[in-house]
């Protein structure tokens, strides 16, 4: 048996800080961050389902989600959800081996980013119309 020696401090492989930021790389990071945010945002959905069981609980939920802070969270959540979903579609396309060419992958991430913003704005437009301005 060889003697057990202390681990040698080997050089590590280069990480994020050494690369020039690129759109595909930034979008990969954003995909993870949105997933992380959506994870905790599911607490809001669980709260909504429980709150719908009675008028008092529902009033508490509505007063929170109707406040500027609640609205801000919900808006961010909407964008994160759409962005993560479109990003997921992009990854599923990549899983098939398509869309990995230099121009295709740039086009896909740009469509992902623009699409997420456009769809979020449209959804909030519909939502505010559905509220009938009675916010």
């Amino acid at each position: 048996m060889a003697e057990i020696r202390a681990p040698v401090a080997r050089p590590l492989s280069p990480h994020l800080q050494i690369y020039r930021p690129m759109l595909t790389m930034m979008m990969s990071i954003v995909h993870r961050i949105t997933g992380f945010g959506l994870y905790f945002g599911m607490l809001l959905l669980a709260w909504w389902f429980i709150a719908a069981g009675g008028p008092n609980g529902y009033a508490r939920f509505e007063s929170f989600i109707g406040s500027w802070f609640g609205r801000l969270i919900l808006f961010g959540y909407t964008w994160a959800l759409i962005h993560h979903m479109l990003g997921g579609v992009r990854h599923l396309i990549w899983d098939t081996g398509h869309g990995l060419g230099p121009s295709e992958r740039e086009w896909l991430v740009a469509a992902n980013l623009i699409g997420s913003i456009v769809i979020t704005v449209i959804l909030w437009g519909i939502g505010l119309l559905a509220m009938g301005g009675t916010s």
Partner: protein
């Protein structure tokens, strides 16, 4: 160790079955729930917009109706599975201390099961009118 130079474990060699055939489990379930999440998320967002501005009684009635409740239950099941897998990868990527990593992986499972079951309980309660 037995001093063998084989990569396969002694147990695997004795069994003679190759790998445990479960190596792609995480990848597969991550993709499976990702695909399921697409139509379920679209449906959930449509339902959510339909419920905007309605009072509690109306919201409870719509959420508890069979089709909506079933869609929401499927949504919750698929999403909580997907987010457990995703968070496990994040933990494994950034937490290298073994005890903390295991504790966080456990907490991750508890959180996702908890959120899933509370949501399912809320939906079923509306559906069964308890």
């Amino acid at each position: 160790m037995s001093g063998s130079s084989h990569i396969r474990t002694p147990l695997a060699r004795v069994r003679g079955h190759g790998t445990a055939k479960s190596g792609t489990g995480h990848f597969w379930h991550q993709r499976l729930t990702a695909v399921a999440n697409i139509p379920l998320t679209i449906a959930a967002v449509v339902i959510l917009i339909m419920l905007l501005g309605r009072n509690q009684a109306a919201a409870a009635q719509i959420l508890g109706s069979p089709a909506v409740a079933i869609i929401m239950l499927l949504f919750v099941a698929s999403v909580t599975t997907h987010m457990r897998l995703g968070m496990a990868v994040i933990i494994e990527d950034y937490v290298h201390e073994e005890t903390a990593k295991l504790a966080l992986l456990m907490a991750n499972t508890f959180f996702c099961l908890g959120v899933g079951l509370v949501s399912a309980f809320g939906i079923l309660k509306l559906s069964f009118g308890l």
